[in-house]
């Protein structure tokens, strides 16, 4: 592992010295996202847990794809993508607390090569815009889950009422299921079927 110990200027001697590590593919494994309901926060965590329990007890298959994504991970994805695709000068990238990364290598070619390695390691090569720096996933208030079932199911809502779901579709876009989710405080994405698996605390 290549570790760059980039020290502050001599004029700043006496101040704490920063020890940052050069950018590169290894950063993709440093800060990971989660798929556990336990990674969610506050009341939303319990709301999702209760909603998922109600669905599984009724025979609905629940496959969770994502819950929490640390903002530091979004930061790494965003800026590596922008160095590669927008030609951002690594020297201008703002620092982020908790991410001791040095984007600027001894040469601009080396900086670009390292950013390219990160883009591949994060699998964002085909993504045609910069990964956003903010999302409900960053604040532990969103979950992506695929839902499916066969026949008729009867989950219980948060008020203890059994709701028979016999309409289509048998996915997370089912109107009755969306209403049940809302009783728990788990809201379907406001953009409707633009993003089928996405649920959150506020529909965003």
């Amino acid at each position: 592992m290549t570790t760059a110990k980039l020290k502050n200027k001599p004029a700043e001697a006496g101040l704490p010295r920063s020890e940052k590590e050069l950018s590169g593919a290894k950063w993709a494994q440093r800060i990971l996202g989660g798929t556990s309901i336990c990674d969610l926060t506050g009341m939303f965590r319990y709301a999702v847990g209760d909603f998922v329990d109600a669905m599984t007890e009724a025979g609905i298959k629940v496959k969770i794809d994502a819950t929490y994504r640390p903002i530091q991970r979004s930061y790494l994805m965003h800026w590596s993508w922008r160095i590669v695709n927008d030609g951002i000068d690594p020297a201008t990238i703002p620092a982020m607390a908790g991410v001791e990364i040095e984007w600027q290598h001894p040469t601009s070619g080396a900086s670009l090569k390292a950013a390219n390695e990160m883009v591949d390691a994060f699998s964002i090569r085909r993504l045609r815009t910069a990964p956003a720096l903010r999302s409900q996933h960053n604040v532990r208030l969103a979950i992506d889950m695929s839902l499916s079932w066969s026949g008729t199911v009867s989950p219980m809502d948060a008020n203890g009422k059994i709701v028979q779901i016999n309409g289509l579709p048998r996915t997370g876009m089912n109107r009755q299921l969306i209403e049940i989710g809302a009783t728990y405080g788990v809201k379907k994405y406001v953009g409707g079927n633009k993003d089928v698996p996405h649920w959150s605390n506020n529909g965003r």
Binding site: L32, G33, S123, R128, T129, N138, Y189, K194, V196, H198
Partner: protein, 101 residues
């Protein structure tokens, strides 16, 4: 009486706020919808997701960011003499729309 006056003042304030906001033309509303969805999908991606989910998000980015970027250019020109709509458009021109390529 006091309650009626308070209700009247509240209704006047609401009306004033509504007038200040003014109507937003359909083409600007369409842009806002696309720009919001674009930013949403840009915030969803993660290489740790299933391949199927990654593809969904990549498609979502193209579906909403591409038209939003085109609309941004066109609407900025179309409403350049309307400061209110220019501000509405500018406030929704997020990084994800601008960065799309």
């Amino acid at each position: 009486m006091k309650t009626k006056i308070a209700a009247l003042i509240a209704s006047l304030l609401v009306s004033t706020a509504t007038l200040a906001k003014g109507p937003v033309p359909k083409d600007v509303r369409t842009f806002i919808d696309n720009a919001d969805a674009c930013e949403h999908f840009a915030g969803e991606f993660d290489g740790g997701l299933s391949k199927q989910r990654q593809k969904e998000i990549e498609r979502g980015v193209v579906r909403y960011c591409q038209p939003a970027q085109k609309q941004l250019k066109r609407l900025t020109e179309k409403y350049k003499n309307d400061p209110r709509l220019t501000e509405v458009i500018r406030s929704h021109a997020n990084d994800s729309v601008i960065s799309f390529r």
